[in-house]
Amino acid sequence: MSLKTTNPLSALKSQLAAACAATALLFAAGAAQAADLNALIWCDHADPALLDPFETANNVKVNVKEFEGTGAGLAIVEQSQPGDWDVMVIDSIDVPRGVEKGLFEPLPEDKLPLADLFPEVKMDGSTVVGGKRYGITEKFGYNTIGFNKTKVDPADMQSLAALTSDKYKGKVAIYDYYLPVIGMAALAIGKKTADLTEADLPAIKAELLKMKANAKLVGEVTASQTALATGEVDILVGGGEWVTAGLAKENPALDFSIPKEGAVLWSQSLAMFKDSKNKDMALKFIEYIMSPEGQARLATSSCYWGMPANSKAALSDEQKKILRFDEQPGFLARAQAYPAPNPDLDKKMQDVWTEMLQAQ
């Protein structure tokens, strides 16, 4: 009944038995985990609506670990044991970084719907290294101008100059990610994002400081999204469909533009780890994500929406309208590449970004 009626030796034995049972359970769980799929992902892949159908169909558990930014993702990999991870979501432009580190396994092109991808986002220059495909673009969108069309003049949003005009002083938020916003600053001063060098940084910094002077806040995904949605600001520098589409039902006034100077194209890829212990399941997962159904679920993930890379994604007409699916050819023609600096320029860009954040 109570512990008081049990002699100490019996209590010790029962506790030992319980400890052994717990240990056995842990080992069993560990063994089960080895057969699971371990995925290093961005938050859009954590949506149960995306993962559940795959887990049910394949009788597998997908263990996810979210991260933001390639640097953070690669740091997690470096601190893990080989084989801990099976698949990874990574900026398409950063796939070569993973290949250089010897992390990724070539993907079998014949198992992937490459012919159905929007040609502009296949990004073979990054996803194919040494003639082998190491990544496949799964989702893309634009870092551009997100805005509330009832609060600003939509015509003004057709130029990046609006971001630094006095008309919108204190009405602007800046998305806190240096690469796309530096890309937008480069576009604003007439530079091509693919050709940026250290010599361009002073002019880019000056443009960023002008944006900062107009800004109320510089926020990460949640903060900047909240600021735009709650009316704290009317414009989000670096925003796009990834901010406005998911909120379209609650706030149809939110919209985005691709200004005349262009926008920065972001794209995310899937890659498989070379040391994966579950490569067959990893490939199945990639095939699922790239399938029309998987693409529709990923595109409308609860964390953020984005354009599916597969043009045959099974989206509803309403979802296509929100994502402005039919306007993509025009958008893609005006979009420029995500900045892809080498490590030295990358550090200098981050220093410029830090200076912008600290500017009063």
Binding site: G71, A72, D176, K216, E232, Q350, T354, L357
Partner: protein, 288 residues
């Protein structure tokens, strides 16, 4: 040799060993989870991010880059402001709880005072963001009362960061000062009164000095927790200025630059150590 004789020699040895046996778990814990990680962090801070190898570049980055320096200045300014405001608010609050609230209600009053501790730190910070927002309670009230025409920018400022911190640390300081006030024997005040001191003089020359340890313990905890906090400035400050923990997180989150993050963390620890040494003589609560 008798058994009693053996025991008489054995007992002192056992007696000497017992304290060590008792502190061994704590020492082991400190060694495993503080000393070794600290050494690893120190070594990491002296390693180049690209290619490895010994370097002092991570430290020189901090001392030569004004935007990095600025983060430390921001941290110290925010921490100092928060600590001072929290003490000024917490002391009268603790005094009212200890001296004015009847004994039987004190436990309930204290529980109500620390009620905000029960909510998540992150949720509390986001709640403040909504309160201070352009369309938040404060701006709407001020506009409704006709005191302002346009909403004030309260959210995403240093003011918001300080407000979020003060809300939290006033509770912490109230607890430490309340504990100190409760330990203070009424005899001191009676003696001061017998010697002709009025209430103000008694407070300034008797009560305040005797409760200084409680203030300093709370102030030091506030300093340490505030200067190392990432969440409140991140949520409420709007990234309009960076403090040291944000700078550390930037190195890890953006570039996976653990060596530079380690160097910045060591510098932050050095500042905390200096703060500790500065107020070490008061960091004890003795029964008055």
């Amino acid at each position: 040799m008798s058994v009693a004789g053996n025991r008489s020699r054995a007992l002192p040895r056992a007696g000497r060993a017992l304290p060590w046996a008792l502190v061994t778990p704590a020492l082991g814990w400190t060694l495993a989870f503080f000393v070794l990680p600290f050494i690893a962090m120190g070594l990491s801070s002296l390693t180049a991010h690209e290619g490895g190898g010994f370097t002092l570049a991570n430290y020189s980055q901090f001392f030569t880059d004004p935007s990095y320096w600025r983060a430390m200045v921001n941290s110290l300014e925010v921490t100092a402001i928060v600590t001072v405001i929290s003490i000024l608010l917490a002391y009268p609050f603790a005094w009212i709880l200890a001296e004015q609230v009847p004994e039987r209600w004190q436990r309930l009053a204290l529980m109500l005072a620390v009620l905000p501790f029960w909510t998540s730190y992150v949720v509390r910070s986001y709640s403040w963001l909504l309160v201070l927002a352009q369309n938040g309670v404060i701006n709407r009230t001020l506009i409704g009362l006709g005191l302002i025409a346009e909403p004030l920018q309260l959210a995403n400022t240093r003011f918001a960061t300080v407000t979020g911190f003060v809300h939290f640390f006033v509770m912490l300081l109230t607890l430490t000062i309340f504990a100190n006030l409760k330990q203070l024997s009424p005899s001191y005040r009676k003696a001061a009164a017998d010697l002709g001191a009025g209430p103000v003089r008694t407070f300034l020359h008797v009560v305040l000095p005797l409760t200084l340890p409680g203030i300093m313990v709370g102030a030091f905890l506030t300093f340490v927790l505030c200067i190392g906090d990432y969440i409140t400035p991140q949520i409420l400050g709007g990234n309009n200025e960076l403090v040291m923990p944000q700078l550390v997180m930037m190195q890890i989150g953006r570039r996976g630059d653990f060596p530079l993050a380690s160097a910045l963390s060591i510098i932050l620890m050095a500042v905390v150590t200096v703060a500790y040494l500065a107020c070490a003589r008061w960091l004890k609560i003795e029964r008055a």
